[in-house]
Symmetry: C2
Subunit: 218 residues, 2 copies
């Protein structure tokens, strides 16, 4: 069997698994949100803030991917939420089979919104699916307003774009209109949420959107 055929078969199996994850989540009325971002863009902090903001309205759970167990205590372990930490053993992205295993471990009957924190990169295979209901890409001001032009794929498939670290605007040369224009070149529809996880600015709009999306599913 040729290399392309074998890779094709592995991909098909992945696609099937992702579809099964999606069907399972739909049946359970769970919104699974796949969060993609560079290292340091603020995925974990956005999860923390979202849990603070929506914790009374929705039952949240978290799946968090990491390249290795070296960091010791997973960063969300203080959070009083069901959290699964997936150690990918160096693989630079989560896959549908990892998500399936995590779904089996979670108290899934008591979950409305499942946030999945991807390994931090904007270059992992963008079109692969975990079975998530929504894909959200998080950029942050230090990455530059042209980030969506340099790393187009995750922005092109996103259902929403979060621009984090708005509090750093006075300290950086960052042109907000350029960022919006760059996102719109990849994606004509996705809402763009400008926010600061540090100051809380803009978190309400993001949370309202996420709440609406989740309620439309369950």
């Amino acid at each position: 069997m040729g290399l392309a055929t074998q890779i094709g078969q592995i991909r098909s199996a992945e696609v099937r698994l992702a579809e099964e994850n999606a069907a399972f989540l739909r049946a359970m009325g769970i919104s699974m949100v796949h969060l993609l971002a560079s290292p340091g863009a603020g995925k974990t902090t956005l999860i923390l803030r979202t849990a603070e903001t929506l914790g009374r309205q929705l039952r949240l759970a978290v799946i968090q991917g990491g390249l290795s167990r070296q960091i010791g205590t997973p960063p969300l372990s203080d959070l009083d939420l069901p959290t699964i930490w997936i150690d990918t053993g160096g693989q630079p992205y989560l896959d549908a089979s990892m998500i399936r295993e995590a779904l089996e471990e979670l108290p899934i009957a008591d979950v409305d919104l499942l946030l999945v924190e991807e390994i931090g990169t904007l270059t992992s295979p963008p079109k692969r699916s975990l079975g998530a209901s929504l894909r959200v890409v998080i950029a942050s001001l230090p990455e530059g307003a042209d980030c969506p032009l340099r790393y187009p794929e995750p922005f092109s498939v996103a259902d929403a774009v979060v621009l984090n670290k708005l509090d750093l605007l006075p300290h950086l040369e960052f042109d907000l209109p350029s960022f919006h224009k760059a996102v719109r070149r990849q994606n004509s529809q996705a809402p763009i949420f400008e926010l600061s996880c540090r100051t809380g600015k803009g978190l309400k709009e993001w949370s309202v959107w996420l709440l609406e999306q989740t309620r439309s599913i369950s």
Copy 2:
């Protein structure tokens, strides 16, 4: 032929090409420095500043990787240096064959120091070789002091670590000793250069080191 065998053969061919690149560069007395970093850590700006600082002592050239041509004008095109822009067509890392082609296009007899800007990610295959003399990983303050723990591989193989955006220190919660400790867990030897491409602070130490390394080769 099995998948593993075929992947193995592709890898061996890559390793051979990288060794040939390395041998060619050694023979020409050229120092090739492979720069790895997240999006927005400041690879391009570090190249600009390095060119300003060392442009009179060394003949520089640049190879710059990008995922797509969408960004229009490559960011270094204003620089009066031989620059090759490699469009990887979506592949999230440069490879030895791309470097070989670029070496054929560059006026290589007139180059002392060749800076190679990798696609922005800390998760690409870390042990692959392009044939570079030195590997440098660039982190920046917004990525957090625990970045080397979360993305250990590029730090473990680095010959030097640059910590950029030091000017943001007053505006972030970033603990410098924690960062050093995190780097040292991956790498006992690599020098760590704290600098700000924006203010110029720390650039001299980095440039002196790079000059010494390059002179020891040519």
